[in-house]
Amino acid sequence: MRRAVHFTLNGERVEAQVAPHESLVEVLREEFGLFGARESCGQGLCGCCTVLVDGVAVSGCLYLATLVEGAQVETVERSATLDEVQEAFIERSAFQCGFCTPGFVLMTRQLLAENPDPSEAEIRHYLSGNLCRCAAYPEIIEAVKLAAKKRQRS
């Protein structure tokens, strides 16, 4: 039932034996010990399981792992060195419990890649698929603005 899937994970070529029903987030967790993408609502509605596949954010809890054959997969663990987005999240206190934070970080990276200087309304709309029950939303908006500034400077 399981078959080999080959893909690039955080810059490294990898292989995993995957069952057809297994989600990407399960495979990242069970096969690679990566916990940054995490299942919460299980319906693709909260954004906690966000993973980038070929540079596009997907809900890892719904995305079948077999579909990443040949793809570039990126999780929040890509680098232990903080980027501008992560620095900005720390500087603006843009998280509390931290469970949703990796999803917000990845979505913010994708937003800033598409739109280096987003307005507040654009930030709200772009990140509206990510939920934070601690409601650090005002701080997240501030952090995204700061990250945009930091990236423009660098």
Binding site: H21, R29, E30, L34, F35, G36, A37, R38, S40, C41, G42, Q43, L45, C46, C48, T75, V76, E77, A80, L82, Q86, F89, I90, E91, S93, F95, Q96, C97, G98, F99, C100, T101, P102, V105, I123, R124, H125, L127, S128, G129, N130, L131, C132, R133, C134, A135, A136, Y137, P138, E139, I140, I141
Partner: protein, 755 residues
């Protein structure tokens, strides 16, 4: 955050240190039980009741057992081989590990399938069938008082609380606690009042929805058990599991890393008893992780009904108040009886009323259990008394803020319990909220189908008493410091705040302090992380422990003939001739408390008061009934903010959470007690698009003299006033008064049609 600087600030206190765990959280590397896998671990998936109330006739697990890959299936019969009397709970021993003889709500756990592959376990759950002899059920908290449907055959108080003892063995009732408070003679005062106002308010059942759903893992040896759990109360878990098993506490170890949110959902026993029993049955590690859907069947916030009656003097003073509150506790009491009493006694609000009567009832019904949710009952009470306050003021033609000023409970005056108010900046908080929302100043009131209004509300909360926290502070040979506490950091920033307190006492930078996460084999007892108590209680314990350590270091300096300013590393070096040794200070904090008498009177009902006021400006669309909060002002008395930035995020986060409970969140049940919206697809929580465009947070200059460096708790304060402030603003905008939450477009539109 708007804030004036305070005299109580020092080098580490009042400093917005970024959270100590920041790197871990932004890189996805923070430890949660959610991540934990142990060798040989089995996953448990739960089979749940489909009826609201019934006797279990038969459970057929044969098909599930026969499914390839299934390790075993466990029902109450197997549970009883490990725990003969498998009932748990903080106030009542009423909740079985798995349903025993009866089921009491739709979604109650009845059986568990264990397998190495969680998908196999889940599939096998669908092969289990159960038959029930259905019994009449009751869902409404007021109907439950007189209903023939009786949820529990006999009441079983846990015995730890004196005010529950009279309920032991009582039959034919759904009242799990009848708290009563009498001050003066409200009947007489009511009779002499110039005007009487009486209203009835309701709140709906909602859920915490922590994004890390409830999860516990247990592993055992022949005579020891380790539970890794997403819990706010590790010390309670150890005590309760040890009691169930009849084991000494030192054979039960409870470990808690970070929590992915808690909000009161992860208190007392949730999955811990289940995983403990399962692990002991199968002699392997067992993990049970709930789905988001299953959380709705596990713990919720009390729906409530509040009848409030006030007698007014001609000049607008409240001379008498009568409060009757019914709390819908669902099928198991959880901490409901404490909500009923500890919050119940604040039901008349932060007002100076001579003659008061309160009756507060914890009710059993056939719904999912209710417990603590960010405010411990207070938001339900403030919703009612602050709506009521506005209704009276407007009816009497008095400005709502002026009316509140006239009746405010001021410093030095007795509250309904008789406890004299101290360090409670009620007046200041109200005044600042009014100022920040531009109360009394003209604004654009809109026109046509889009109308605007302003509202204000103020609430208060007594911190739960009496509770204990212990702490240990270790100074290592290099001068670094390790804090040992059982307070759980679920996102509120307790690790950072505790490190700041220890650092301040020891004159270290906060960053030189680490905090060990709760592990009952290592960290000392703490009642629980709840009710905004930790900063005050554990904070005081950490301060005492750090002072103890500092005194020991000072004594060592003297013994060793070192100067008073000798570096810590030099003390150890001189004493041991090398880098070795450590010093441990201990702190044990329990504030004074007087239990209430039979009339609810006490001269010391609480260690401190939390005060929160909310001002809002709303826009109402009269065609759709939609309410948008355009400006939200949160003002609080938090004493001295230890970490102003974290304080601000607590105020802001709490108010946004309460915004969801006010405007749209609601658990919808059908006539058979079946929940219809147990998922984030149908139960919406606030997202970025629900955020008010303008949010202002302010901590007034205040000091809690008994708190660590003048601080007190803040986690719940900004929830208090949100709901009534919005209802008051809606009334201000369109003259429509809603008395039931949530204030969703449907409810408002219907009220508009009836106008």
């Amino acid at each position: 955050m708007k804030r004036a600087s305070q005299a109580t600030e020092t080098s580490q206190i009042g400093r917005s240190v970024p959270r100590l765990e920041s790197w871990l959280k932004v890189t996805g590397r923070a430890e949660y039980v959610h991540n934990l896998r142990l060798p040989g671990m089995l996953y448990g998936k739960i089979f749940r009741s489909t009826v609201a109330h019934g006797r279990i006739r038969r459970i057929d697990t044969s098909a599930a057992r026969a499914q390839p890959g299934v390790h075993s299936v466990v029902t109450a019969a197997e549970v009883k081989t490990v725990v003969p009397d498998p009932y748990y709970g903080p106030a009542f021993h009423d909740q079985p590990v798995l349903a025993l003889d009866k089921v009491r709500y739709v979604g109650e756990p009845v059986a568990v399938v264990l397998a190495s592959d969680p998908h196999v376990a889940e599939e096998a759950v669908h092969l289990i069938t159960a038959e029930y002899d259905e019994l009449p059920a009751v869902y409404d908290e007021v109907e439950a008082v007189s209903s023939k449907a009786i949820v529990h055959d006999a009441l079983k108080p846990a015995g730890t609380f004196p005010d529950l003892k009279h309920l032991k063995g009582v039959k034919n009732t759904n009242v799990a606690l009848d708290f009563r408070l009498r001050r003066g003679d409200s009947t007489k005062a009511m009779a002499s009042a110039a005007r009487i106002f009486e209203h009835r308010f309701r709140t709906q059942q909602v859920m915490h929805t922590p994004l890390e759903p409830l999860v516990s893992v247990a592993e055992c040896t022949e005579d020891s058990l380790t539970i890794h759990t997403a819990s706010q109360s590790p010390s309670f878990v150890r005590i309760e599991i040890a009691r169930l098993l009849g084991w000494p506490e030192n054979r039960v170890r409870v470990r808690v890393p970070f929590l992915g949110g808690g909000f009161g959902a992860k208190l007392y026993i949730k999955l811990e008893a289940l995983v403990a029993v399962l692990s002991l049955l199968v002699k392997r590690p067992v993990k049970v992780s709930l789905s988001m859907e299953e959380q709705f069947f596990t713990i919720t916030k009390h729906a409530s009904t509040f009848r409030i009656k006030s007698g007014l003097s001609r000049d607008g003073r409240v001379v008498a108040r009568e409060c009757e509150v019914w709390w819908n506790g669902g099928a198991y009491a959880d901490i409901g009886p404490r909500v009923t009493q500890k919050s119940g006694f604040t039901a008349p609000g932060p007002y100076d009323v001579q003659d008061v009567a309160i009756d507060s009832y914890a009710m059993y019904t056939n719904l999912p259990p209710a417990g603590a949710l960010r405010g411990f009952g207070i938001p339900q009470l403030v919703w009612a008394y602050e709506s009521h306050t506005d209704m009276i003021a407007r009816e009497m033609g008095i400005d709502p803020v002026e009316f509140r000023r006239k009746n405010l409970l001021r410093e030095g005056r007795p509250q309904a319990t008789g406890t004299v108010m101290r360090d409670a900046a009620i007046e200041k908080v109200l005044e600042r909220a009014a100022e920040l929302i531009d109360w009394g100043k003209p604004f654009d009131r809109g026109s046509g189908t889009r109308r605007r209004g302003r509202g204000i509300a103020i609430g208060f909360k007594a911190c739960i008493a009496n509770t204990t926290s212990l702490a240990a502070v270790q100074i290592n040979a290099d001068g670094s410091c390790t804090v040992y506490i059982s307070t759980v950091d679920m996102g509120q920033g307790s690790d950072t705040a505790m490190a700041q307190i220890a650092a301040e006492v020891l004159r270290l930078p906060t960053e030189a302090v680490t905090v060990v996460h709760s592990d009952t084999d290592v960290t000392p007892f703490d009642m629980a992380t709840l009710g905004s108590r930790s900063l005050f209680h554990t904070g005081n314990a950490v301060k005492l422990a750090a002072e103890d350590a500092r005194a020991q270091l000072d004594a060592l300096r003297q013994q060793l003939g070192l100067p008073p300013d000798a570096a810590i590393a030099d003390i150890f070096k001189k004493k041991y001739g090398m880098r070795a040794g450590s010093v441990t200070g201990v702190g044990n904090f329990i504030p004074p408390y007087t239990p209430p008498d039979e009339n609810g009177q006490s001269d010391n009902a609480t260690p401190f008061w939390m005060i929160g006021a909310t001002g809002v400006e709303v826009a109402v669309d009269t065609e759709t009934g939609r309410v948008r909060v355009e400006r939200l002002v949160n003002v609080a008395d938090v004493g001295t903010p230890i970490n102003p930035r974290i304080v601000e995020t607590q105020l802001s986060g709490a108010s946004i959470m309460q915004l969801g409970f006010t405007l749209f969140e609601k658990m919808l049940f059908d006539g058979e007690g079946q929940l219809r919206n147990a998922s984030l697809a149908e139960y919406k929580i606030p997202g970025l698009l629900d955020l008010p465009p303008e949010i202002v947070n302010e901590a007034v200059v205040a000091e809690q003299r008994t708190g660590p460096f003048g601080a007190k708790g803040v986690g719940e304060t900004a929830t208090f006033g949100v709901s009534p402030a919005i209802a008051n603003a809606v009334h201000d905008a369109i003259g429509v008064r809603l008395t039931e939450l949530p204030l969703n477009p449907e409810a408002l539109w219907q009220a508009l049609q009836q106008r």
